[in-house]
């Protein structure tokens, strides 16, 4: 159904494009460089109280008492809220997108260090902070478990008594009522007969790869503000990537219809997945309802480390190959450290888990993916939704296999990649995906054919490349409205959140292209559930494809109406007219501007022409036993990276001298933005690869601040950093576009590690590749391990 529609649309559209493919500077540029761009961070409302969260100091324990008296004795403290107050409003105070497992405040027990237990409210934030240190919470510790593999074993301390799938995702329903386990989800894929595959293999390779926990560190820390409107309506201003979801979740918790809950946002100072689904919103909402005053809670950077992280993961990968380099069997087990609350972790597990065999055509495959509760801070989405944890395994192992068989790593990949039309291990065919093209471009950019000097002595050099495959999340829906106002100016109402990725500009380009107006003159309204229609969320690189599609359809509806008005005015058939240069033009040279058309239609300079578009791609749920589905994703994404490094044999320090990030983007609606997304992703992932790592001991984050958790700065950039992409328009994408926000994170980590392997033949299985870890591996390989190894 969507495919047919698109074909029809494509006949409708004119090429060459004027707006699509143009590097339109971001619409909000002047606002951002003058410091006047709106962020929820800036919002203050009269009579507002600041909330400061009192957090658990133990990883797993029963709460035996909360004494707020000393806090309440501080002058200026308005209230101290605990779960007891919350329960007077919300009988079942558990929320979450995948599972209803997270209490608004700790309910009887705590499951991770840093879990919110109480909130102190005061008009002065300093008073709230001071008093928050005086709330006395007594715990009776329970045995805790932190490692994802240990937590998945029978007999591990159980963190949640019973699994409570939320119901939004129907494919999680089978978990309802499961108890006595920390495995929140087990998802499998089966193809062929993996036992037979291994028996027929010439060589078998088995490895375990690990990724540490890292953090988004969005610079605008998570912030929400709730206020009552009148007696029984609520507005939540929130730095959220998913306003529609927040509204439905708050409505569900309160038992209110969605039309009494308004959720709005502004520009986000970064998101990267940290601001998805629901974070502080339920807490500020109940606080505002309890005290009948506006309540703002803003996290500090430090608190973000206890709020949401990327999943640490353990990936066991076993691969059978023929001597000619063909992979014929692969078995992968992934254990995802989901922390104490599921957040969207089970979906990360499921969606990335089914790609764990990589972009390769393999006859016999068995994939088992486990989302595991532990007593660490919750893990959720972080740019890539788990792909970089699995690509770390399959792409690292690819080079080990290639070297063992004496095959060039590029050649090894060429022999095994999925080609157009071939079924992916899930059974869904690979379509509109340029895997060979990405490999060719990568080879070209890396000058793979030229001789490479690996050096001798203390500084050794190496080069490596890697690929990463993702299936865009499904099923999801986007709805958009395009308006022409009474004066002929145009606005897009859509729920996509611009968190720096440039979606406002891209949506303006899409609407502008259809309506024949400059993107710069299109206003893109920021999400407000009272005026922008539903969107699943700004996540998973889905916005350009899904919302772009909806905006395009809405604009096409507007265009049809404008042509109709002009057709009547000119006395011609609307099909003989076109939208161009902010006017409708006729073949004979007559034209009416949008402003004149509105006057024509309403007999005064007034009124609205409104178009609505909605897009929900087709989807077929995977068979739970086999993971097979003929239609598991609306589009495949492919990233590739190439790296050249120099490694210091005496210190273990890796210097990335060249990093190329390549992607299949369908069509770049805004080439400049596409390139920036790929380069930004490369730098972020280089941080995750080389030094970013949350150090946890007994559930305590030892480096919960930017002083101790280093992120990439100017001095960490690869000397030669570039991005490139292939454009083969996707048949269902708006103007052929696909999402690109995550593609750049799939491959840099294994590419850099493969370069290290190329340089010195050392295998490091755990991320990040800190100098210490590399040096230990070098020393071990040299037969003189460090004393404590």
């Amino acid at each position: 159904m969507p495919k047919l529609e698109t074909q029809e649309l494509d006949r409708d559209s004119r090429a060459p494009y004027r707006e699509v493919g143009r590097s339109v500077p971001r619409l909000e540029g002047a606002a951002k460089v003058t410091g006047s761009a709106e962020y929820i961070h800036n919002l203050r409302v009269p009579g507002m109280l600041h909330g400061k969260i009192c957090r658990s100091s133990v990883a797993h324990g029963r709460i035996v008492g909360i004494d707020s008296s000393a806090a309440l004795a501080i002058e200026g403290v308005h209230a101290v809220i605990t779960i007891d107050e919350v329960l007077t409003l919300v009988a079942n105070p558990y929320y979450g997108p995948a599972f209803h497992d997270q209490p608004i405040l700790a309910h009887g027990k705590v499951r991770h260090v840093g879990e919110p237990v109480a909130v102190v409210l005061a008009a002065d934030p300093h008073v709230a902070e001071e008093a928050s240190n005086l709330v006395e919470i007594a715990y009776e510790p329970i045995e805790a478990v932190f490692d994802e593999v240990a937590a998945a074993r029978p007999g591990a301390p159980v963190i949640h008594d019973v699994l409570k799938p939320a119901g939004m995702f129907t494919d999680l329903k089978y978990l309802q009522g499961r108890s006595g386990t920390n495995v929140a989800l087990d998802a499998r894929v089966r193809r062929g007969d993996v036992v037979r595959g291994f028996a027929e293999s010439d060589r078998i390779f088995e490895h375990t790869f690990r990724s540490g926990k890292v953090m988004h560190a969005a610079f605008e820390p998570i912030v929400s503000l709730a206020e009552m409107n009148g007696h029984d309506e609520l507005t939540i201003h929130s730095a959220t990537q998913s306003p529609s979801f927040v509204r439905s979740e708050i409505s569900r918790l309160l038992g209110w219809p969605e039309n009494r809950v308004r959720v709005r946002t502004a520009f986000l100072g970064g998101g990267f997945g940290a601001k998805l689904y629901i974070k502080l919103e339920a807490l500020v909402a109940v606080c505002a309802l309890i005290v009948r005053k506006p309540v703002r809670i803003a996290l500090t950077m430090d608190e973000q480390f206890y709020t949401i992280t990327k999943h640490g993961a353990t990936v066991r990968i076993k691969t059978g190959v023929k001597n000619d380099g063909r992979i014929i069997a692969r078995q992968v087990e992934t254990f995802w450290n989901g922390g104490a609350y599921a957040d969207i972790g089970p979906r990360v597990t499921q969606k990335s888990g089914f790609t764990a065999a990589g972009p390769y055509d393999i006859e016999h495959v068995a994939l088992d993916n486990f989302a595991v509760y532990t007593n660490e801070p919750p893990a959720g989405a972080l740019r890539g939704f788990g792909i970089s944890q699995v690509s770390w395994a399959y792409e690292r192992q690819a080079d080990i296999i290639a070297r063992t068989l004496g095959i060039d790593p590029l050649d090894f990949r060429r022999r095994n990649i999925l080609r157009e039309g071939r079924p992916h291990v899930t059974g869904t065919r690979i379509s509109n995906l340029e895997i060979p093209g990405v490999l060719d471009l990568l080879s070209d950019r890396m000058e793979w054919d030229r001789p490479f000097d690996r050096g001798t002595g203390t500084i050794r050099r190496g080069r490596g490349l890697a690929l990463g495959l993702k299936a865009c999340i499904s099923p999801t829906t986007s709805v958009a409205i395009v308006h022409v106002y009474g004066d002929g100016s145009c606005a897009v109402h859509c729920g996509t959140v611009d968190m720096g990725q440039g979606s406002d500009t891209v949506m303006a380009q899409v609407a502008g292209e259809v309506l024949g107006i400059r993107a710069e003159s299109v206003q893109v309204l920021h999400p407000d559930t009272s005026s922008t229609p539903y969107d699943m969320g700004t996540l998973g690189s889905r916005s350009t494809f899904h919302m772009g599609h909806a905006v395009r359809m809405a604009a096409l509806s507007v265009r049809a109406q404008l042509l109709e008005i002009a057709g009547r005015a000119f006395g011609v058939d609307p099909t003989d007219l076109a939208c161009c240069d902010a006017a409708v033009v006729c073949g004979d040279g007559r034209r009416l501007t949008l402003r004149e058309l509105m006057l024509e239609r309403f007999a005064m300079q007034a009124g609205n022409v409104v178009g609505v578009g909605s897009y929900a791609p087709s989807y077929e749920k995977a068979n739970p036993e086999t993971g097979q589905s003929p239609d598991i994703t609306p589009f495949w994404m492919l990233g590739g990276a190439g790296a050249e490094i120099a490694v210091d044999m005496e210190t273990g320090r890796i210097n990335v001298t060249k990093l190329v990030n390549v992607a299949d983007v369908g069509r770049a609606i805004n080439p400049s933005i596409v390139e920036r997304q790929l380069i930004g992703a490369a730098i972020m992932q280089a941080g995750f690869t080389l030094f970013e790592e949350m150090i946890l001991i007994d559930g305590q984050v030892l480096n919960a601040s930017l002083a101790d958790y280093k992120i990439p700065g100017f001095l960490d950039l690869p000397e030669d950093l570039s991005a490139a992409y292939v454009e083969i328009p996707h048949e269902n994408g708006p103007f052929g576009a696909k999402g690109v926000g995550e593609t750049g994170v799939f491959s840099p980590a294994p590419a850099i590690a493969n370069a290290l392997y190329d340089a010195i033949g050392v295998v490091v299985t755990d991320l990040p590749l800190t100098p210490e870890r590399v040096l230990r591996a070098i020393r071990k390989a040299e037969g003189r391990p460090m004393e404590d190894d």
Binding site: G35, H41, G269, M684, L706
Partner: protein, 164 residues
């Protein structure tokens, strides 16, 4: 705030004389936001490491999330809001727009103010000089390459001439 914790301080803010009642423990960022509705300097890391809170005090860029408000008593304070004159952007701001030297924009005011200080000392910096001078400012979206281009463009446009 009680008498011993409060001070009334006059200072110059973006070329205008102002007076603010501040608590001794408050930072410049808090006072700019609360008293003057200026949100261009903003706290992110809270440790003076990321540069999002940069303001210029007596000609020197400081971390406004650590710099106590009482210390600007009698000082000249310039914030990002003081750079554009009338409706027109400062050449550095213009260069950041044209070169897309930002993504989410949260760190951008800090980068622009540091660039202003850099160009005052060194009107035509090399790439290495730019990277080194701005290395105390962080950008999580990692627009670093574009920031370098923006700084170079601003230098060519005479961004060192102080219009603010």
């Amino acid at each position: 705030m009680s008498g011993e914790q409060g001070r009334t301080i006059p200072f110059m803010l973006n070329d205008r004389p102002v007076v603010a009642r501040v608590a001794v423990y408050e930072t410049v960022v808090e006072v700019l936001q609360r008293e003057f509705g200026l949100f261009g300097a903003r706290e992110s890391c809270g440790q003076g490491l990321c540069g999002c809170c940069t303001v210029v005090v007596n000609g020197t860029a400081v971390s406004g999330c650590l710099y106590l408000a009482v210390l600007v008593d009698g000082a000249e304070v310039v914030t990002i809001e003081g750079l554009a004159t009338g409706g027109s952007l400062h050449p550095i701001q213009q260069a950041f727009v044209e070169k897309n030297g930002f993504q989410c924009g949260f760190c951008t005011p800090g980068f622009i103010l540091m660039t202003k200080e850099l160009l005052a000392h060194c009107p035509h910096p090399t790439t290495d000089e730019i990277r080194h001078y701005l290395s105390g400012n962080l950008c999580r979206c990692a627009s670093y390459l574009d920031i370098v281009e923006a700084v170079k463009m601003a230098a060519e446009a005479g961004g060192s001439t102080d219009r603010g």
